[in-house]
């Protein structure tokens, strides 16, 4: 078991309130710039929030409107949405989960909420659907905390028996598409190059 004093959580993921604000502002600005530029096939994933400590950065707001003239969300408005979805996590997974199949120890929902918040320190709800990221962080948290749950269960609302069979058949189908897709997609391969989990473990 890793010691907290050597963990990345202490060294990289603890901020002052001011830094939190600046990090979110930067994420918002980068998202605005991306949405104003020509549409790219893959959305950029940022991770600058890890160890973020630049107090002199992020003073300007970036463009105010997108190409069709609709205003962008402000960092405060984004924060509102992130808070809302983070607060929904305990009802998705953890001891208070609505689905009995997803009842887990409390540390699972805690981890999910923390991972979710860390992600939105450097990324924006305008680029990544907070609901999908919320479920993905719940899925990831079950794996991190060694309380694995099938991804199929996480997709669902309450299903009747017949629907469960139908859903599982459908999910196997969509899973195969998904896997072939991931493997064949060269853009996704750049992600796999970045899967240096062993090097960048909690000890680093």
């Amino acid at each position: 078991m890793t010691d907290f004093s050597h963990s990345t959580q202490l060294q990289q993921w603890i901020y002052t309130p001011q830094l939190l604000q600046l990090s979110r502002k930067k994420a918002n600005r980068l998202a605005r710039q991306y949405l104003c530029s020509e549409p790219a096939p893959n959305q950029p994933v940022f991770d600058f929030a890890r160890g973020f400590n630049k107090t002199d950065e992020g003073l300007e707001n970036g463009p105010a409107e997108n190409r069709t003239g609709d205003p962008f969300l402000t960092p405060e408005e984004e924060g509102r949405l992130v808070d809302f979805y983070a607060a929904k996590l305990p009802s998705l997974i953890g001891p208070l989960a609505q689905l009995p199949k997803l009842r887990r120890e409390v540390k699972v929902s805690a981890t999910a909420a923390l991972l979710f918040r860390r992600f939105y320190l450097s990324n924006s709800v305008m680029i990544f659907d907070p609901k999908a990221i919320m479920v993905a962080s719940a899925f990831l948290a079950t794996k991190v905390e060694d309380a694995m749950s099938p991804v199929r269960v996480l997709t669902g609302t309450l299903l009747t028996y017949d629907f469960i069979i139908l859903a599982s058949v459908l999910s196997v189908f969509s899973m195969t598409i998904k896997h072939s897709n991931i493997l064949s997609c060269p853009d996704s391969l750049t992600f796999t190059n970045r899967f240096n989990i062993l090097k960048k473990g909690p000890n680093s």
């Binding site: 991306y34 997108n66 607060a87 540390k107 479920v135 998904k178």
Partner: protein, 213 residues
């Protein structure tokens, strides 16, 4: 959850999530800290030094473990609010745990239960002159206020005092400037045509691609 998230969405989101958090997966939480501090208090309050820290209303007896249960339970409930808020990004789990115990102590004290001088506990329990001990002593009052503010919906706690009206407005605004979901052009076309259809399902681009292959 009124609209479930599909498996493909979860898996693609997970691929974005992992680099977005820089593959730092390990998280520490305050629940363990609360339990550990309560356990330690139980033994420490029986010692000579610790005895003076705990006071009972109109009663003079030694502390037993059961006395601390109420405080521990309230503190755990407070941590439930902490974990969905910004607080884990601001302070370490140990500091939060201690602050939650202080808030809980204040609360159960009002109900006539045991009252413990937790600041005194920190001063007696940990080495004076230790850098971390000095840090936590200076920070505790601040974290105490932060944790106390959570039940009013401060510091990003979405469990209380959520302004649903404002949230809906944000959501509406988001629909017009987001990169995911129904694209801007489509919503505009829809609006000109039939309003009754409502939200269309986002065409899964990758799926279409693979079908073409």
């Amino acid at each position: 959850m009124n609209a479930p998230v599909s498996i493909s969405e979860i898996l693609t989101s997970e691929l974005a999530l992992l680099p977005g958090i820089n593959f730092d997966l390990m998280c520490f939480h305050s629940y363990k800290a609360v339990l550990a501090f309560t356990e330690d208090l139980r033994t420490f309050l029986k010692t000579e030094k610790g005895r003076v820290l705990a006071t009972f209303p109109g009663d003079d007896r030694a502390v037993i473990g059961q006395d601390l249960k109420a405080m521990h339970d309230v503190a755990r409930q407070l941590i439930d609010d902490v974990l969905v808020s910004d607080v884990p990004l601001l302070y370490s789990p140990g500091q939060i745990g201690l602050a939650a115990l202080m808030v809980a102590n204040e609360q159960v004290q009002l109900e006539g239960a045991i009252s413990i001088n937790l600041l005194g506990y920190v001063q007696h329990r940990f080495d004076q002159g230790n850098k971390e001990s000095a840090e936590i002593q200076s920070k505790l009052p601040e974290i105490f206020v932060v944790v106390k503010g959570l039940k009013d919906g401060l510091n990003g706690c979405g469990n209380h005092n959520v302004d649903m009206g404002a949230l809906k407005a944000v959501h509406k605004k988001l629909k017009r400037c987001r990169a995911w979901g129904v694209s801007e052009k489509k919503t505009k076309k829809k609006r000109k045509g039939d309003d009754g259809i409502g939200e269309t399902v986002e065409p899964d681009l990758k799926k279409v691609k693979s079908e073409q292959e």
